[in-house]
């Protein structure tokens, strides 16, 4: 069993209350940081720990913090991005529901490191219960003197606010989140300027994922070196994975980065294999926007190595044969799932969630959804498949924010790896309405590299 840093005490009854959390060693990180460290030392620790953004992009958190502009007389803000709305990802909600004080503690430490005296936790509007839980936790922390003026006599002031959004996926993009927090329409801003220079109310702002902020607590408690020992290479520490789909034991798991994907799916410690004794067909490894991979490519890389749960190993092979760790929304599909239908479903989501600001995404997502709908319901043409690839290429990289890429990648990758199934939907429309394509060759062992490139 791997080490647990964030969810160590998750099963302790009453851990969502301040007393129990404190008894279990909570708020030690605040005491340590505020009493013994300077803000720069905290930033340095986080940098050394190698913690990478847990929201999807995987950008090193310490580096992001050190980019924050620090002009005199201008307030700085820390905003916690709790807008988690990627299909397949539900780790932040779990963390906030069950162990809210971990996030509060992380917010205090991070705000101290960044010199922010007002910090916001931005939650998606649908998370009403979590908003109440967090507000209660903030009140408890304030009552105990961990928030407010002159925390623990260190002279550091911090006010923490929870702000619900309207429930839009786009508000998870950091600049759209800032716009929404300011009370405007949640349209992503055009970068540059980056939020680190001009963010919330045109002040320097850092936007971090819930899990990234929570992860600063074990980093400060145990030290950066201890944290960096976990994991492989540049993927350090533990990561929450939201496992869903046709698994025996779906749920939120804290894994040490670096365990093999195969172990994560089949080990009884984790997902416990595919439900109902079926076989694995495909996996979306990091939330709906990352490329989908067939079973053979998710377990092994194209070179025949075991694929590990790390940022690098999952991305091995680029987009041709790899995917991304993303936000850790791990969705497994068994042999009875239809990839065309799944792609259509994802595409429908992005069509609905596009903000409509820039043209390729506004028009292209709807177009892809309509074509996929036609394919799924047996009215497709063979040329539609190439059309989809072309449209997704026209969207990818040409938009203001990454939503365009996120909409394009699942479609492009599904066609790249499951083209047979798309073609079957066109050539056997009647059959496709009645049964699924099945596993086909998607779990067959990969050809050996030497077979792919014969040496003459």
């Amino acid at each position: 069993m791997g080490r647990k840093l964030l969810l160590e005490h998750i099963n302790v009854p009453g851990i969502n209350s301040f007393e129990v959390y404190r008894q279990k060693g909570g708020y030690r990180a605040v005491e340590k940081a505020l009493k013994t460290l300077t803000p720069d030392e905290v930033v340095e620790e986080v940098k050394k720990s190698g913690l990478r953004g847990r929201g999807g992009a995987g950008f090193p958190t310490g580096m992001k913090w050190s980019f924050l502009a620090k002009p005199d007389g201008v307030p700085r803000y820390l905003v916690c991005n709790g807008d988690e709305s990627e299909p397949g990802t539900f780790k932040d909600r779990y963390l906030m529901t069950h162990i809210p004080h971990l996030l509060i503690e992380g917010m205090i430490v991070s705000s101290f490191a960044l010199g922010a005296n007002t910090s916001y936790i931005y939650l998606r509007g649908e998370m009403m219960p979590q908003i109440r839980i967090l507000e209660k936790a903030i009140a408890e922390a304030k009552n105990a003197g961990f928030l407010g003026k002159n925390i623990l006599g260190s002279g550091f002031d911090l006010e923490l606010y929870v702000q619900p959004g309207g429930g839009a996926y786009i508000c998870g993009e950091e600049t759209a989140l800032i716009e929404s927090l300011e009370g405007k329409r949640g349209n992503p801003r055009i970068k540059p300027p980056f939020p680190a220079i001009s963010g919330l109310y045109n002040c320097p702002t850092v936007v971090n994922n819930v899990e990234s902020i929570a992860a600063t607590v074990p980093i400060i408690n145990d030290g950066a070196d201890e944290y960096a020992k976990i994991g492989i290479g540049r993927s350090t520490g533990t990561k929450l994975i939201s496992a869903s789909g046709n698994l025996n034991r779906p749920g939120v798991y804290e894994i040490e980065l670096g365990i093999p994907v195969e172990e994560f799916i089949y080990s009884d410690q984790y997902c416990g294999g595919i439900a109902n004794g079926k076989r694995l067909k495909a996996v979306v490894a990091g939330g709906s926007s990352v490329p989908i991979l067939p079973a053979n490519l998710i377990l092994k890389t194209i070179n025949g190595d075991n694929r590990l749960m790390t940022y690098e190993s999952l991305a091995d092979g680029g987009f041709a044969s790899g995917t991304m760790l993303g936000s850790g929304g791990f969705v497994a599909y068994d042999e009875d799932q239809c990839i065309v239908r799944n792609t259509w479903n994802f595409s429908r989501f992005y069509h609905h969630e596009s903000c409509g600001q820039c043209s390729p995404c506004r028009e292209g997502t709807g177009w892809m959804e309509k074509v996929l709908h036609r394919l799924e319901y047996g009215h497709g043409k063979l040329s539609d498949i190439d059309l989809l690839v072309d449209v997704s290429k026209k969207i990818e990289g040409n938009t203001i924010c990454p939503l365009g890429d996120a909409a394009a990648w699942p479609v492009a990758s599904a066609i790249r790896h499951f083209r047979d199934e798309f073609e079957w939907h066109v050539t056997h429309p009647k059959e496709a309405m009645e049964r699924n394509y099945g596993l086909a060759n998607y779990a067959d062992p990969l050809p050996k590299p030497e077979d792919l490139h014969p040496v003459n």
Binding site: I190, H351, G356, Q357, C358, S359, G366, N398
Partner: protein
């Protein structure tokens, strides 16, 4: 001259002020290399970056950091750096991406040019003609909206809108209270005056001029005439609210439309008030200055038999002069 930076666009170098956008640097050069812009409007703060037609490739970031930018960038919102090298029409990637954007802009556009009042001075028409492909691959029903009257002088036909946000910025920035914005999300987003409330403002008519397509039209001109049958004439009057500098559009003896004066990129020179635009439609209310010159590429200039001059950059740059020798001789011959 320390605050001048050197930028090279499609092989043509120019020194511009620091902080200039790539698009404006290209406009200073002029000619074919100017990226098209559907949403950027130099007179409106914060506009641009949305339509993505002005995408260019930055093949060299700057003198200090020569790395190319990983993605195509919107030239209207990217500032130039010293030593930057930009590819516009010389990059097949840009041409392809732009073709894609044009296709996206057109898939939900009704293409009702034959009955649209904007036809002839429509930026989307020009854009599609210059950068688009000849046929669409879109086979679904197009998005439609009902027509909305914004006050008694302006009609909003949302079906034609490309959501450039220019009118929103105009309503925000040159009128004093905002009653006009965007409702809805994604491809269901629409320009709205929030439950069809009329814009009661002296300058609201300018949203007609900034609209690149036929989504906002002048109700006093609707279906009166095709723009290429009318004669544009510069005129002015002593107006207490605005500069009073306008273009009158004549049909025979009658002034059938009044607009602000637009430059070669379709941007107005000075915003005008509603009184000038809608109420003053008699010749004796104006002081005529002379015929208005409309850029040669416009259909309005068709049959005006002016010499087709090469853009100034070709006249000045010896290398390009050589390459365009034949055309240069033809067009400079008196």
């Amino acid at each position: 001259m320390s605050d001048k930076v050197k930028v090279t666009i499609d092989g043509i170098s120019i020194d511009v002020d620091a902080g200039t956008s790539i698009l404006n640097a290209a406009r200073q050069i002029g000619g074919d290399i100017v990226p098209p812009a559907m949403c950027y409007y130099s007179k409106l703060q914060g506009s641009g970056g949305k339509c993505r037609t002005c995408l260019v490739k930055v093949s060299k970031g700057s003198e200090k950091d020569p790395r190319p930018m990983p993605k195509l960038v919107a030239s209207c919102r990217t500032t130039v750096m010293d030593g930057m090298e930009v590819q516009n029409i010389t990059s097949p990637e840009v041409v392809e991406a732009r073709k894609g954007v044009v296709e996206m802009l057109l898939i939900n556009h009704p293409l009702d040019c034959p009955v649209c009042d904007q036809a002839g001075e429509c930026h989307l028409q020009d854009l599609a003609y210059e950068h688009g492909s000849e046929a669409t691959r879109y086979e679904f029903e197009r998005r439609t909206f009902d027509r909305i009257d914004i006050g008694d002088k302006i009609q909003l036909h949302m079906t034609r809108c490309i959501l450039c946000y220019r009118c929103v910025f105009t309503a925000d920035q040159i009128t004093n209270n905002r009653v006009h914005g965007i409702l809805g999300r994604g491809d269901a987003a629409e320009i709205s005056t929030y439950i069809e409330k009329a814009i009661e403002n002296d300058f609201s008519g300018n949203i007609i001029d900034v609209c690149p397509v036929g989504a906002l039209t002048d109700k006093t001109f609707r279906f009166k005439n095709r723009v290429w049958f009318t004669k544009p004439v510069d005129a002015h009057r002593d107006c207490p609210t605005c500069s009073g500098k306008v273009t009158l559009w004549y049909k025979g003896e009658d002034v059938i439309r009044v607009t602000a004066r637009k430059d070669e990129y379709g941007e107005v020179e000075e915003f005008i008030c509603n009184t000038c635009r809608f109420d003053k439609k008699k010749t004796n209310e104006w002081v005529i200055e002379g015929p208005r010159k409309i850029a040669n590429h416009s259909v309005i200039s068709a049959n005006h038999y002016e010499q087709l001059g090469p853009p100034p950059v070709i006249r000045k740059n010896p290398a390009l002069l050589e390459a365009n020798k034949e055309q240069f001789e033809r067009s400079t011959k008196l």
